[in-house]
């Protein structure tokens, strides 16, 4: 190794290290005792209370949302179905998260989804618009192409670039709030699949190895927090569902910073093996998160 090369490399190393420590890595390395758990699951009847209790094990929402931050909360609001049909995220949960973010001092909390059915319908029918506005958040339509920017996706195998909702990239904190649902093509739709709702040209994914695309997309921006709604679960005829007969109650929410781990845990709720859900396995293979729950510190609470 030449002297010059050595100097260059060590300088780069120093700079990277310094940046990493400065931009939040510091907290993660030296403040471990505040974050004892990797994953928390809460079972109970009152979903608001469940979130409130669960987030405490991560040191409260304040650990994620700092004063003055712009926060994006991304629920699933894809379908024109009321909460009882469990096709969209539980509105109470979304409302509660928005409220707690604002309480923690967030400047603005945005909620949106690139819906499947017309957004004017799904936002109201799902009850999410009401819940968000009541909590003081702002709900946006994500059905206009002008709000999307093209982003290159690192380490991609199939999805090299995508048109992404600008706010998703600009926000200081992203909280993914998917609902656990049956899905014929990807077996289950949870957190990773829910992120399809921030891209414009998502039908392209269906024609180009959907599972790989879902796994690829996570590398663009990992949500800072994932809260999985498994309160009501659509276990057949997903992801739209036909009637309330397709729904069972699991009364659970799963909270984790690791999107892949959260999805893996949700799989197990329905007695599925996470490694067999292709997009989750693919994301794990790309080192985007932990699929093996044995390697995680898990807290299970029953209220």
């Amino acid at each position: 190794m030449h002297r010059r090369e050595f100097l260059e490399k060590s300088l780069k190393f120093l700079i990277t290290g310094a940046i990493a420590l400065k931009t939040g890595g510091y907290g993660k390395i030296f403040a471990l005792d505040n974050e004892k758990y990797d994953l928390v699951s809460v079972t109970g009847e009152n979903i608001k209370k469940m979130f409130e209790e669960g987030i405490k094990f991560f040191g409260g929402i304040e650990k994620f949302v700092k004063r003055g931050m712009t926060v994006v909360v991304k629920p699933n609001i894809g379908w024109n179905a009321p909460p009882e049909r469990a096709a969209n995220t539980n509105p109470e949960l979304v409302g509660e998260i928005v409220k707690s973010c604002l309480k923690a001092g967030a400047k603005k909390v945005f909620v949106f989804d690139h819906t499947c059915d017309p957004w004017q319908k799904t936002y109201t029918v799902s009850g999410i618009k009401d819940a968000v506005e009541k909590a003081g958040g702002k709900i946006l339509s994500a059905n206009m192409q002008k709000d999307y920017v093209t982003a290159k996706i690192p380490m991609a195998k199939s999805l090299k670039s995508a048109k992404v909702f600008k706010l998703f990239l600009d926000a200081d904190c992203v909280i993914n709030v998917p609902i656990l649902k049956d899905h014929r093509t990807t077996e289950l739709t949870i957190g990773l699949k829910n992120l399809m709702g921030v891209v414009w040209d998502r039908w392209w994914w269906h024609a180009n190895n959907l599972n790989q695309c879902i796994a690829d997309f996570l590398a663009l921006r990992k949500p800072d927090l994932t809260v999985i709604d498994a309160y009501r679960v659509l276990i057949q005829n997903g992801p739209r569902g036909i009637s309330e007969n397709d729904v069972i109650k699991k009364n659970t929410i799963i909270i984790s910073k690791d999107s892949v781990a959260a999805d893996a845990a949700a799989c197990k709720l329905l007695n599925k093996i996470p490694e067999q859900i292709k997009h989750i396995q693919l994301a794990y293979e790309k080192n985007l998160g932990e699929i093996n729950l044995k390697n995680l510190k898990i807290k299970r609470i029953v209220l």
Binding site: S41, N80, A81, C116, D117, P118, Q120, K121, V125, L140, S141, N143, M144, H183, R184, T185, W203, W204, H206, A207, N208, N209, L210, N211, I235, Q236, N237, G238, P239, R240, I242, S243, N245, D246, I248, A265, A266, K268, L269, L270, N271, L293
Partner: protein, 493 residues
Amino acid sequence: MLKKIRIVFSTILILLFIFVFLEIKEIPTLSHLLAITQFIPSLLLFLSDNFSFLATGFLIVLVLTVLFGRVYCSFLCPLGILQDFIIFIKNKIKKPVRKYEFNFKYVRYFILLLTFIFVVFKLNSLTGIFDPYANFGRISANLIKPVFNFFAGKFLNINTEIHHINKILLFYSLLFFVFLILLTVFKNRLYCNTLCPVGALLSIISKISFFKIQINNNCIKCGLCEINCKANCIDVKEGIVDNERCVRCFNCIDNCKKFAINFSYIKINEKEDEQRRNIIKSFLILSLLALFDFLKVNKIFAKEIEYKKKNPLITPPGSKSLKNFNEKCISCHLCVSSCPTRVLTPSVFEYGILCIFQPKMDYSKSYCLYECNICSKVCPTGAIQPLTLNEKKTTQIGIARYIMENCVVVNKETNCGVCNEYCPTKAVKLVPYKNDLFIPSVNKNICIGCGACEFVCPASPYKAIVVEGNKNHLIAQLPGLQKRKRKGQKNDF
């Protein structure tokens, strides 16, 4: 006073119409009620096989006309009010100079006759070409709405989407609108007195109306009434008012400083009395004829439009059949404006030249929402008949057909399944193809032809699943609603 009442009333009415057509808030009942105050839609609804008492709007208009003359034209007709608005703006720019004009009586009688033929032979799309309400609807839905949405999106920061503008309809509406503006600027309410079939019919009836506008002895021939008359029907020199053409705007009364023109009950002399009797008689005979016609004649003569096309266009749920839809729709595009998914789009000649501008379901643009029956609620003519939500969910307007050669699963060997994902009844199932791959298969008994699968299919340039319309709508079976056994609380997690 009367003028002020008219202005307040008509302003409220047109604001409501615009509110409805711009779909600012979705109130289907209001749309329907507003639309059936209109003469031709309510007449058609009255004549249709699903008679409803709401459809007596035209009878009320007739009674009002017998009593007061053509109040419909200034109080109820949205196109008339629109023209009044144009005149209002014109008067702001330039002082009105109007004069008594020649009466184009025979033009309007000819158009009335044509309209009568169209209604009898159920060529109602052609009725709609002249009908003021349908014209207003087309202007609102295809011109005003896109323009409004464009500016609202740009300046008011309201989230409105400009949905697939139909360029031909936009051009037609623009052309008609410009024509109307020119006509109004130069000749005031000439449209109402030459081209409008409703105006023509009401002008005949207003001959016998009990209340009339008349110039009395106080007149000093100042000509203010003549200048302000929107229908150009006052001749001050002769001291006559042509009550046939008068649209009852009451401008003359409001402008007269000498109380020399009034709107009052007219005692008629014997000659006029005879005339009145004759008109009532001929009207009765005409309606009897019409009744007879609807019972028998039209079954023999009604023109059968060729329905032998292999893949007929898809008509909205509630329209019963292609035939019913083609016969009753006047192309007012109220349903186009109200459709939340914008799947209902205006056609041009696709149904044939006799069914010009009637809406169609365009699955390349959108799909029919499962939990929605708004178009059936708003339609004022009975072309789309009311359906409850449960009826709609089983109304089969077409059947999806899978075309394997186009499918991305077959061509790219990748799992897709987006058709199954969107299918509201899960009539599109996924079945094993080879290896780990799954292809769709359609259960024709459950499929309702909503077109969600066709719309979302990512295959290009040709879709791998397309809906073929039913000429006569059928009832689909309910999707299997079997309840899964509740699994115990135990799970792997």
